[in-house]
Amino acid sequence: MIDTAPTVEPTYVISTIGLAKRFRDIEAVAGVDLRVPAGGVYGFLGPNGAGKTTTIRMLLGLIRPTRGTAHLFGEQVASGRAVLDRVGALVERPAFYPYLSAPDNLRLLGLTRGIAESRLRTAVPDALGRVGLTEAARRKAGRFSTGMRQRLGIAAALLGNPELVILDEPANGLDPNGVVDVRELISGLARDGTTIFLSSHVLPEVEQLCDRVAILQKGRIIAEGATKEMLRQGERLYVRFETAAETERAKPILGALGPVSEVDGGAVSIPRRPGEEVLRPLVEAGLYPAELYVKRQTLESVFIELTGDHDAATPPEQGRATEPPPGGGAA
């Protein structure tokens, strides 16, 4: 049942209040509160089965929430609401009529969307061009590869220049060039003022693209905020001394600045602090670090730390190697 709509600030493109969905015994989404501001790219992350796609389906009116409400542009989402016409979306594996060509599929979806036939004459080739499908345009969609279908799905989401584009795993099945193309496409859309809501497992992509992220686990949001802030909060300062005795003497001094943890190689780490704030008490105590460095966090490491899910992070062929501890920037 959709609850009676409480007033929601229309400044948020997407907002949900206690959004939940139960499938028989399984609570797929257990009360999600989201606030997605207008403009930019918003990342929606979570391990497999966290409830991302179910949340997206509820946002798009494909499934009805068990409780809570979802609003787009301040208007409650429900089947047939005009507000959904302002949204373009790609959800999971895109599906098309196999007996129609790519342009015919787009034309059909455009007509269904209420776009005039005359406008579609330019909009369809334009959308196909944006996703690099111009040459394959005459082929029936049933003969498309997974990557081509994915590109066509993105083209369908962009048809009619929606104000909000929701992309669920847009890089699925794409080759590395395709991933780069999609990244550039998303950046371009965001620059043009379109709000992008991006659900993806390719965390380096998300890190590069998203201004804000929300991390979902077991149907609940466990972290939300600006991407830079989230990465900065996870950063740690590493201090290494020549001798073990120095390290032992430094521990209580550093401990006054934050929780200390010892890492392999004799270094100790504390949450990132300005270098001067760390060095002054050490030097006053006659301790001179041999090395002082900051280990830069990646979204992947933040994600793994928060969710404890090592399998859900970026697949090896698309991911970035974990940054070695000494490789970070200086404090």
Partner: protein, 327 residues
């Protein structure tokens, strides 16, 4: 709304299998019309007493009998055989006349079950494929107006049904003319009762509406076109079983107080409606002791079919408006 209609047209225009199903209806009707006529052979010649007499003699009839006894017996047998031939000739003429215009209209509309099968297939295929291909999700992402989407889809199927009924009427006119053009003479046909013919057409359209809405509701409930066909078969069996059970009670038997209720069941109602209308239309109200009182006998099935169409339609719309799209 016009965009949705154009989209529906595009779907149909590019889908060969749907076009084949639609084209199969007039083709099958034409085939069975011609085959039916052929099964009654070419027009039989009138009785030739001399030929029969010669045949009887050559077969040894009355061999050894005195001529004064044989002659009256032979004459009586020839007369009997001639009477039988004339009766058969008359019966064949009558049957063959149902293939001549305007009786051909009733004959063609009587094969309306092809139309209904085609509509079940079309409805189950067009709605079911959207679930098996998951294009229902893509479509609903393009437009969330579920009621409008289903209304346009069902509307398109109703337009196809109208087109097919019109094609049947056209066949009813053109087939006798074509048959005559290729040299097969048909006996003159009696005029048809226009009221009966109109009820037949309306009945077929009502039945079309029932099968479209039933198939739509079933497909949306089971999310599969092929399963819908199974549901249809199961329904027919279940209805037959219920009718058999009801007929155990006197009230439901012939002239019972509740006999009319049997015609409120969709399959039985359709059968009654078409039988009553076709017999009134062709002027055969009395047949082997079974008497049709008039078009009034079609009232219950006509009302019932309309109610069933509304009920199934309401189920389909409610289901589609509320269902979760997990595809």
């Amino acid at each position: 709304m016009s965009g949705l209609i154009r989209a529906e047209l595009l779907r149909f225009r590019k889908r060969r299998s749907l076009q084949i199903i639609v084209l199969a209806v007039p083709m099958l009707v034409a085939f069975f019309f011609v085959a039916g006529l052929m099964s009654f052979g070419p027009e039989q010649p009138p009785c030739d007493p001399a030929a029969i007499r010669d045949q009887l003699i050559s077969e040894g009839f009355g061999l050894g009998m005195p001529p004064e006894d044989l002659e009256p017996l032979l004459a009586e047998t020839v007369a009997q055989q001639c009477q039988f031939v004339e009766q058969q000739r008359e019966q064949y003429q009558q049957i063959r006349s149902t293939y001549a215009f305007p009786q051909s209209l009733v004959t063609v509309l009587g094969t309306g079950t092809f139309l209904l099968f085609a509509l079940i297939l079309l409805t189950a295929t067009t709605i079911g494929d959207d679930f098996s291909w998951a294009t229902i999700r893509t479509t609903l992402l393009a437009s969330s107006h579920r009621v409008r989407l289903l209304a346009v889809r069902l509307g398109a199927l109703v337009v196809i049904a109208l087109g097919l009924v019109a094609s049947l009427l056209l066949l009813g006119v053109s087939l006798p003319a074509t048959i005559a053009a290729v040299g097969t003479q048909l006996p003159p046909a009696a005029p048809v009762n226009l009221g009966g013919l109109a009820v037949m057409v309306v009945g077929l359209l009502e039945a079309s509406l029932v099968v479209i809405t039933f198939a739509a509701a079933a497909t949306l409930l089971v999310r599969s076109g092929s399963l819908t066909l199974v549901v249809m078969l199961v329904y027919v069996v279940v209805e037959a079983a219920i009718l058999t059970l009801l007929l155990q009670f006197d009230a439901f038997r012939h002239d019972g107080s509740l006999e009319w209720l049997l015609d409120a069941f969709p399959v039985r109602g359709l059968s009654t409606l078409l039988e009553v209308a076709s017999r009134v239309a062709s002027g055969v109200t009395r047949y082997e002791g079974d008497v049709i009182r008039g078009l009034g006998d079609a009232t219950v099935p006509m009302v019932a079919l309309l109610v069933w169409a509304l009920v199934f339609g309401a189920i389909a719309f409610r289901r589609f408006a509320r269902m979760d799209i997990a595809e």
